[in-house]
């Protein structure tokens, strides 16, 4: 049900223009670790962090986003999609944050829109929870 062409708010904050594909690509043995889980449940006390630039960079990006987004509500989980062979554009540059409550997502959406992240202008939007869960970015 469209209300004046406005999107139905959801619990999922969609952050756009956040990262470049290069930052998310690496072709070494650790790649498999994150292709599968997109850091959905990244363990902050990760032991044995591999010496791998991309890996560390993505953990870093994850931390930055998690820290800032926590200011607006309780985060359920997050996804940082990585490029795959099929469709380099799909989901790339986007970071998703699921909050516990729709209201929290709305506050974050307005607060973060237009802010800079690594010298890029952040755009914000909602995405349907079904699509988020199905990795349909």
């Amino acid at each position: 049900p469209a209300n004046n062409g406005e999107m139905q708010p959801t619990r999922i904050l969609q952050l756009l223009n956040m990262v470049t594909p290069e930052e998310l690509i690496d072709d070494d043995e650790y790649a498999g670790m994150f292709i599968n889980d997109f850091y959905v449940s990244y363990d902050r006390n990760h032991k044995n962090i591999p010496k791998n630039i991309s890996f560390l960079l993505i953990l870093d990006i994850f931390d930055d986003v998690h820290e800032e987004c926590s200011k607006y509500g309780k985060i359920v989980d997050m996804k940082i999609p990585r490029p795959t062979q099929t469709g380099l554009m799909a989901g790339i540059g986007k970071i998703f944050v699921r909050y516990e409550r729709i209201e929290e997502t709305g506050v974050a959406l307005r607060a973060l829109a237009g802010r800079k992240f690594a010298e890029r202008t952040v755009l914000t939007s909602y995405i349907d929870e079904d699509r988020y869960l199905a990795d349909d970015f």
Binding site: N17, E68, L109, G114, K116, T121, S125
Partner: protein, 135 residues
């Protein structure tokens, strides 16, 4: 961050801690470009949103290239590569050159994607298509 296991962590993890500094710009860094909203609440399909994102980024890169604002502040910079000199002994891969090239390369990729999505897409007036692909 946990501290008890720090001594067991790799050099990579130590480097990471040392350079911890958020990528977020402050509230004062907020930009407002008329006609290009940053909080997108209008109903858009995924394709429409991606196309909008593409144009927004192209606009942003264009602005950076026009104003010469392409060298990030020191905290955002990566380690400099070994210098390369030309035949006159002038450094080729200066910081300005590297960051400008990075943006130009990204712009080139985005324009190719935009043309793929819409064959009528008109690249920015100051865009020159690279004649050959290098490195």
């Amino acid at each position: 961050m946990k501290s008890e296991s720090e001594d067991q962590q790799t050099d990579g993890a130590d480097d990471r801690k040392r350079k911890r500094r958020s990528r977020w710009g402050g509230e004062e860094s907020k930009v407002n470009i008329p006609g290009l909203p940053t909080a997108i609440t209008a109903n858009m399909s995924k394709e429409q949103l991606d196309t909008y994102l593409l144009h927004m980024r192209l606009e942003e890169i264009g602005r950076k290239l026009r104003t010469g604002d392409y060298v990030p502040p020191e905290r955002e910079r990566s380690a400099s590569p070994e210098p390369i000199y030309d035949i006159q002994g002038k450094r080729v891969n200066t910081r300005e050159y590297r960051y400008r090239k990075k943006l130009e390369d990204e712009r080139h990729r985005l324009i190719e994607e935009a043309v793929k999505r819409n064959p009528d897409f008109k690249p920015p007036a100051d865009y020159k298509r690279p004649t050959k692909v290098q490195d």
